[in-house]
Amino acid sequence: MSEYKLLAPLTARRRGRRGVSPALRGERSVVRGIGVGLLWLVVAISIAALVWMVAQAFRDTRAILDDPWGVPASLDFGNFVRAWTVGDFAVATWNSLLTTVLSSVLTVAIAAPCAYYLSRVDNRLTRGLSLYFILGLGIPAQVILIPLFVMLNKVYLTDSIIGLNLVYIGVSMPFTVFLLTAFFRSLPLEMEEAAALDGTTAFGTFWRITLPLAKGGILTAFILQVISHWNETLLALTLLQSTEKYTLPVALISFVQQQTYSGADWGGLFAGLVMVVLPMLVIYVWLGRRLTEGLTLGMGK
């Protein structure tokens, strides 16, 4: 039964676009038509905005200010080169990539067993622990900034990518554990029970039965962490001090500030924005389906 519930949406979708009950097909109304129209308008504007932003990255400051609607005269990559070199975006991109992937992988690797345990064992302790983790969801980064810095400095982990990674993992625990606990709860128990009857250890059950089933949810959690760590600004700004360790958001902020003081370079700025947004776009286009599917399965129950 539970497998059916899990698979029901998928089968429905496989029925094709018209996967809706015959009772509802053919239901047309003005309101609905307007709704559909508006949605397509929103889509069109969003895509246009993205295209516009990318286009501006190919023009220079004066052209952008004089005529924001204009199209670039040529595919001049000068802005990108400048942002890449002057804005230290090359190093920053590499740092961001390294930090994001590493911390996201570790976050999920550490949170998954914890979430599994909390979802399967139900006693006062686990309920208390779940609440303990959820508590962290409400604490903003500003609160913990200074004490965190002092602590990390004692162990020489400030101004270090390793330190930043550890911090990211620590602050991502609440959300990831929360998400994965909900997700693991939605997985059927029967297979695990069956495996237990066959004599598998609890750990073996987790490793060989549950994890493969949970691939979708884990991938979702991973992608969500990638997104949030890629865009994280405040902690990186405070905990990193050397320019060669900057991550992308920090490099972007100093780039923007620099523009303000030493002559605006809107073209370079747009190029910088494109460089920040583009990886997200790529990841999203490539893995987006998994992301939305996994997100929904996890939130489902």
């Binding site: 409400g138 609160v143 625990m173």
Partner: protein, 332 residues
């Protein structure tokens, strides 16, 4: 090593409820003085290796600094140098500070007004998208703004909403000669609210869509047979069956709305270099300004006190929210 129970225990098999979602530990121990099935015993042994690392990292890197922050909130401190103990003075002062109250009010506005807008729009979009051609494309596009760094919006906001900016240049040919002052100090917060709605709606729509997708079609057929209108269908079928999902989303939104900071910060002030106008401050901005504004001596005690206070107030809200949204899970 397991407790050598290779043959199935008769008692255990009988306990299986195929539709049960809760683990059966409790029932097992109710059966006589059995200590629970072997897998449960083994599972419990996994407490430390499974939960341990997450627990330690979270506690050391998150909870301990937070406790440190609470300790700081009992002092008057400029970020470095001597600390002066003032007890609950900071809290009293913040409670009396009209700016904190207005900032917290703004946070509540974000929570309720923007939240309501998001969820109404999300439900509406879900319904429209349910059997629309190309719904995957639409869903992906509306989800995307959620992934973009807030700084991008801040920079673009000026471009788009300046008096000579793009919105006004679009409105000019339509005959609008005196467009509203989009970026006037009083209007910035509404603009931020609209931006938040635009970026977050896609995220929640995606989640709700799946919740709605799981509703088996025969319910709709029953509705059609019973002659229910679309609104009645929404009220009696869709809402109850997606209540769980909605509840989770509501809690998530509540918690994240307290932390909204970057978008407010970059919208006002020169894209992060200046301080935004006080009409647009939220609780998180208030905390940040007290500590890091750069315009005057920092007051870390007051900053952490305000953060602790907003956290406490929001926790109360979350508890009330969960209580209000609690309903028996509808099995289907």
């Amino acid at each position: 090593m397991s407790v050598g129970l290779k043959e199935p225990r008769a008692g255990k098999a009988a306990l299986h409820n195929p539709d049960s979602r809760k683990p059966v530990t409790r029932k097992a121990s109710a059966q006589g003085r059995q200590p629970g099935s072997s897998i449960d015993v083994q599972r419990k042994k996994l407490l430390v290796p499974f939960v341990g690392p997450a627990f330690v990292l979270y506690t050391v890197l998150f909870i301990v600094p937070a406790l440190g922050a609470v300790w700081i909130s009992l002092h008057k401190w400029a970020g470095s140098g001597p600390m002066k103990f003032v007890g609950l003075d900071n809290y009293g002062r913040i409670f009396r500070d009209p700016l904190f109250l207005s900032s917290f009010g703004n946070t509540l506005l974000l929570l309720f007004v923007v939240g309501a807008a998001i969820f109404i729009l999300a439900f509406a979009m879900t319904l429209v998208l349910r059997d629309m051609a190309g719904k995957k494309v639409v869903r992906n596009v509306i989800f995307f703004p959620h992934l973009i760094n807030a700084l991008v919006f801040g920079v673009l906001a000026g471009f788009i909403f300046n008096p000579g900016g793009m919105v006004n240049s679009l409105l000019a040919p339509l005959g609008v000669t005196d467009p509203p002052k989009w970026l006037a100090q009083d209007n910035i917060f509404p603009l931020i609210m609209v931006t938040l709605v635009c970026t977050t709606t896609g995220y929640f729509t995606t989640i709700l869509m799946a919740g709605v997708d799981r509703i088996p079609p025969y319910y709709y057929e029953d509705c059609a047979l019973a002659g229910a209108s679309a609104f009645q269908r929404l009220r009696y079928v869709i809402l109850p069956l997606t209540w769980d999902v909605f509840g989770t989303c509501a809690v998530l939104w509540t918690i994240s709305s307290v932390k909204i900071f970057e978008i407010v910060w970059v919208f006002g002030g020169s894209s992060g270099a200046g301080v935004p106008p006080t009409q647009s401050w939220t609780a998180a901005v208030y905390t940040y300004v007290n500590a890091f504004s750069g315009q005057s001596t920092p007051a870390y005690g007051a900053a952490t006190a305000s953060a602790v206070l907003s956290l406490a107030l929001i926790s109360v809200l979350v508890v009330l929210l969960r209580r209000a949204m609690r309903r028996d899970a509808v099995e289907f």
